[in-house]
């Protein structure tokens, strides 16, 4: 669709605005994997309330938009349970070991010109590109 880039840019601005509110308001880096991971492994016990509030917003706002507009977004998530579990495990382990994901290292790190953020983003994008190149273009399995 021709207008996709406008939605991408507008949605991106909202994502960055969320990160700006979290930084300037609470003094924290908006990293989705860190916020959830800290709740799950107990390392974020002292800040559990604000983590839960953030996650409630992440789930609640799309729910609200869906209710108001009467539609669910296009998702195209695979229905292959084995692939979902494998990919979920990789994303969960990887983001916590690397201490960041698309939002933390990508959005918050790159905007700060953090070498770690830039390097992590380059590595996970490259790994994703190679995954698609091999599994979709070469083998045709995803």
């Amino acid at each position: 669709m021709q207008a996709d880039w406008i939605w991408g840019l507008g949605g991106g601005l909202l994502i960055g605005l969320g990160g700006a509110v979290y930084l300037l308001g609470n003094g924290r880096i908006m990293g989705a994997s860190g916020i959830l991971g800290g709740l799950l492994d107990g390392s974020g016990r002292n800040t559990a309330a604000e983590r839960i509030a953030f996650i409630a917003g992440v789930i609640g706002m799309p729910l609200l938009i869906g209710l108001l507009t009467g539609g669910t977004p296009n998702t195209h998530v695979t229905s292959n349970a084995a692939v979902l579990v494998l990919a979920g495990l990789l994303v969960g382990v990887g983001t916590r070991v690397a201490n960041g994901c698309t939002s933390g290292h990508g959005v918050c790190g790159i905007s700060r010109l953090s070498l770690r953020g830039i390097a992590a983003t380059a590595v996970f994008m490259l790994a994703g590109i190679l995954t698609l190149a091999v599994l979709r273009q070469l083998l045709g399995v995803i």
Binding site: W7, L14, N26, G27, I59, H76, L90, T121, R136, Q137
Partner: protein
């Protein structure tokens, strides 16, 4: 109370942005990574759009304190260790496989897909297992 309200506001903006930008559509995410196939550049606009307010926000931290108290994060480390690289490799493979990263995986609960919920559950298990994996990597680094 202010901290919780601001966290809810930040999460709501993030969630709205993920949904409107198309980050919750795995076909768009995989389309962006599929540079040798039918490449979809939308994600570059999402990242570009997100970097603008954030870059401004980092500038505004100078000489100030967070609105809800406390202090801003310390200057970033420049150290590139094996945790950062290997963790990012694993994340990138998983991200490419399905097209979901942690934020959209959480947001997927809002549109009632069992696929998103299953991915999120597996991701949670991975996050719980991660400290053990990190320790293993550190041992490997020490003996190397």
């Amino acid at each position: 109370m202010l901290r919780i309200f601001l966290a809810l506001a930040a999460g709501s903006l993030f969630g709205a942005g993920l949904m409107l930008s198309g980050m919750t559509d795995t076909a768009k995410v995989q389309g962006f990574l599929d540079i040798f196939g039918n490449w979809d550049p939308t994600l570059a606009f999402v990242m570009g759009g997100a970097l603008l307010p954030m870059a401004l926000a980092w500038r505004l931290t100078e000489g100030r304190k967070p609105a809800a108290g406390g202090s801003f994060p310390a200057p970033p480390s420049a150290e590139l260790d094996r945790r950062l690289v290997l963790g990012s490799v694993l994340f990138g493979i998983g991200w490419g496989l399905v097209g979901l990263c942690p934020g959209p995986a959480m947001a997927s609960l809002s549109y009632n897909s069992w696929q998103g919920a299953l991915f999120l559950a597996a991701m949670a298990c991975g996050m719980i297992a991660a400290p053990a994996v990190s320790r293993h990597l550190d041992r490997g680094a020490a003996s190397a």
